[in-house]
């Protein structure tokens, strides 16, 4: 048993089991727990942890230098399967279709008739995967279809999707990037039916601007314009779902959705698809 001792100035030392003194004259004092390493600061009403395991907080609004920090070797994750582990997948442009079979964890790659998606080079964007179609009604891109060829998640899993893409022709075509509870995205200007849950970015053939479509499966889906004229330029499409909201953005312009969004437990299937109308 250790008795709380006063060291120099405003510093107190004791054990975590010791009762910390509590009176206004201790403002600006620090308390060092020698058995835990915690350091507390007295701000006039209570002791607040400032250093050590008791100092729990969310690391937000900080910039971590990729140059000075190597997380591949320097960060240990405790209990990765129950804490901090996420299911993650990418599309990395490759030379031909077979490589893409493993993209996003094995989703079906849908292309035009009998053609593999090929890898090409854009002077500014770098390598990209080209999904093509030659006949109306064909779909291009990454498409969920069956339970064995689908990327499935729920809003409760707080999924995040980012896609850098372009469609080379917008006239009369459709582009849908996002999630739907319908395991097979319809070839339609209505990507989300009234019974479908989901969030989709893109445009239908009748739209002049980029849209966000969303629904909770209880009524007619909402079609909301981003106010950005659709075009054939490269854009970054993002959808971030949380327990309470969904944030969509195109090139960093966000739209926050907090109502009529998918239930946290409704299965959602991922698609990055263009439809040749």
């Amino acid at each position: 048993m250790m008795v709380v001792e006063r060291r120099i100035g405003c510093e107190l030392v004791g054990l975590s089991t010791d009762a910390k003194p509590d009176y206004p004259g201790l403002i600006d004092y620090r308390f060092y727990e020698v058995d835990t390493g915690n350091v507390f600061y007295y701000f006039g009403a209570a002791w607040s942890p400032v250093i050590g395991p008791a100092d729990i907080g969310t690391f937000t609004n900080k910039t971590i230098s990729a140059l000075d920090n190597d997380f591949s070797r320097g960060v240990a994750v405790d209990f990765p399967l129950t804490f901090g582990y996420k299911r993650t997948g990418v599309i990395m442009p490759g030379v031909s279709g077979p490589y893409l079979a493993g993209s996003f964890g094995g989703m079906l790659v849908t292309t035009g008739s009998g053609q593999n998606p090929i890898c090409a080079l854009d002077n500014v964007e770098g390598a990209y995967q080209n999904f093509q179609a030659n006949t109306t009604g064909e779909k291009m891109g990454i498409q969920s279809t069956t339970s064995t060829n689908s990327m499935i998640t729920t809003r409760g899993q707080q999924p995040y999707l980012a896609v850098r893409a372009r469609i080379d022709s917008t006239a009369g075509d459709r582009l849908y990037i996002g999630y739907t509870s319908n395991q097979t995205l319809p070839v339609s200007n209505t990507p989300l039916a009234s019974t479908d849950s989901g969030v989709m970015l893109g445009f239908g053939s009748a739209n002049s601007t980029f849209m966000v479509y969303y629904n909770d499966g209880t009524t007619t889906a909402v079609s909301q314009s981003f106010g950005i004229t659709k075009d054939n330029n490269w854009h970054t499409f993002e959808i971030a779902m949380t327990i309470t909201t969904v944030t969509c953005s195109i090139d960093g312009s966000p739209v926050l959705i907090s109502s009529q969004i998918p239930n946290v437990s409704t299965p959602l299937y991922l698609n990055c698809v263009a439809q040749y109308v």
Binding site: K86, R87, T88, G89, V90, I91, M92, P93, S103, F104, G112, Q115, I118, A120, L121, D122, N123, V124, E125, G126, A127, Y128, Q129, N130, F131, Q132, A133, N134, T135, E138, M140, G141, I142, M151, T153, T154, G156, Q157, Q158, P159, Y160, L161, A162, V163, R164, A165, R166, I167, D168, S169, D173, L175, W234, L270, C272, V273, A274, Y276
Partner: protein, 427 residues
């Protein structure tokens, strides 16, 4: 597949003169010069400019134009020449050559006349990307016949047209008065041109320049009689399966039935455009140009030494240059001042600049550079120049043609292209 581009310099001689070090077998040889009479990088008198091209070693598949005006002359003494079977025909029949051989590392010129030991620059294009090249000439319509004219017989649909010529009509015949035009065109929305004129046999010089950068004109000749009006002007309407269509908007008496030389190329990537020299900053000033849509392998740049305008401007000047890197670029410049009682001219071949413009004075050696630029880099989507001399008040407009590898053709009728995608969820 690639496109290859190289510029360089050589000197004419007697008979065959081989030019090596090109690094590839040219499919097009372009020859250009202003200061052919004295050494490279030395100011000389006379305004003189020549441009020619050869797609093979057959003389009848080679074309050239040349114009000049003597210095200190009263009355003025200006002339031009067109040649339909030579790649160079300069100084009023004194220097004439054809491209007589093309090999793996260059070409050979054959000089049937070489009074001046001509100092020449060349620009060569080659590589597998270029599938077709044809050099020839069309003939402008008869006087007053405006509107669309389609020209056939090219044998392929061009991706690029380079048009050049003067008002001279009879091949190899020195014609009084100096006119010229050089135009670059890729489509109805991609065309630029530069023109000039020097009137002959007048006691007060009458010289003009005319540069169009707004995709409205691919070829124009100034009227040799008036100098301040146009005798011929047209815009590219379309590239066609076997040629191209030009909409002639002006066809005057002095622009009618004139040979218009063309270089037609299929294959590769091409971008025409215009920039202006920067006025801000202290030289050297770096200037990046983007929007080419490809990484250029080579660059042509011309300037009439004036600010951007759709109007005819006083004074004749032309800078014509080409380059492929910070160490491979050459330009020539010449000009004659307007409204002087004795002609004030100069010319120079510059071996280390892409474009150069001068303030011409009567003592040619005292003429000073208004603005000039060198190539810094050819970039992913354009090019960066270093303006080693510039004006703080005058933005000199330059037209350019960037050439590069053919675009990689991917995909089908419709294409979704994904450069990168990332997905994560808790489980």
């Amino acid at each position: 597949l690639t496109l290859s581009f190289k510029t360089g310099q050589f000197q004419g001689g007697t008979g065959n003169v081989a030019v090596t070090g090109v690094g590839f077998q040219p499919k097009l040889v372009m020859l250009y010069e202003s200061g052919y009479f004295v050494g490279f990088d030395t100011i000389d008198s006379w305004s003189q400019f020549g441009l020619g091209a050869a797609s093979d070693t057959t003389a009848t598949n080679q074309r050239s134009m040349y114009m000049d005006a003597s210095d200190g002359a009263t009355p003025t003494d200006a002339a031009c020449v067109w040649d339909n079977d030579a790649a160079t025909h300069s100084n009023r029949n004194k220097n004439i050559c054809t491209v007589s051989a093309i090999g793996a590392d260059g070409f050979t010129t054959n000089w049937s006349a070489n009074t001046d030991n001509s100092r020449m620059y060349y620009a060569c294009l080659g590589g597998a990307d270029i599938t077709n090249v044809k050099v020839g000439n069309i003939t402008s319509p008869t006087s007053g016949t405006t509107g669309n004219q389609s020209y056939t017989g090219i044998g392929f649909q061009p991706d690029l047209l380079i048009l050049f010529g003067s008002h001279a009509t009879a091949s190899g015949t020195v014609t009084s008065g100096a006119t010229y035009c050089v135009g670059f065109a890729t489509s109805a929305t991609g065309q630029v041109s530069i023109s000039g004129v020097i009137k002959d046999a007048v006691t007060t010089t009458s010289t003009q320049r005319y540069q169009r950068s707004n995709n409205a004109v691919c070829y124009a000749l100034m009227d040799i009689a008036t100098t301040t009006t146009k005798a011929l002007e047209g815009a590219l309407v379309s590239m066609n399966a076997d040629g191209f269509t030009i909409n002639w908007t002006t066809v005057g008496t002095n622009g009618a039935s004139k040979p218009v030389n063309y270089i037609a190329i299929k294959g590769g990537s091409y971008k025409v455009g215009a920039i202006s020299s920067p006025t801000a900053g202290t030289a050297p000033v770096s200037q990046a140009t983007t929007g080419a849509g490809f990484r250029p392998k080579g660059l042509f740049m011309c300037s009439a030494g004036a600010v951007s305008s759709t109007a005819i401007q006083a004074g004749q000047q032309i800078s014509f240059g080409a380059g492929s890197s910070s160490t491979d670029r050459h330009c020539c410049f010449c000009g004659e001042n307007d409204s002087t009682t004795s002609s004030v001219t100069m010319n120079i071949n510059k071996s280390a600049k892409l474009v150069s413009m001068y303030n011409i004075v009567a003592a040619q050696a005292s003429s000073t550079v208004n603005a000039e630029a060198d190539i810094t880099t050819l970039d992913a989507d354009g090019f960066t120049l270093s303006w080693t001399t510039k004006s703080a008040t005058v933005a000199y407009e330059c037209i350019y043609l960037a050439v590069g590898d053919a675009a990689v053709v991917v995909g089908g009728a419709k294409n979704l292209q994904i450069a990168k995608a990332y997905f994560t969820s808790d489980s």
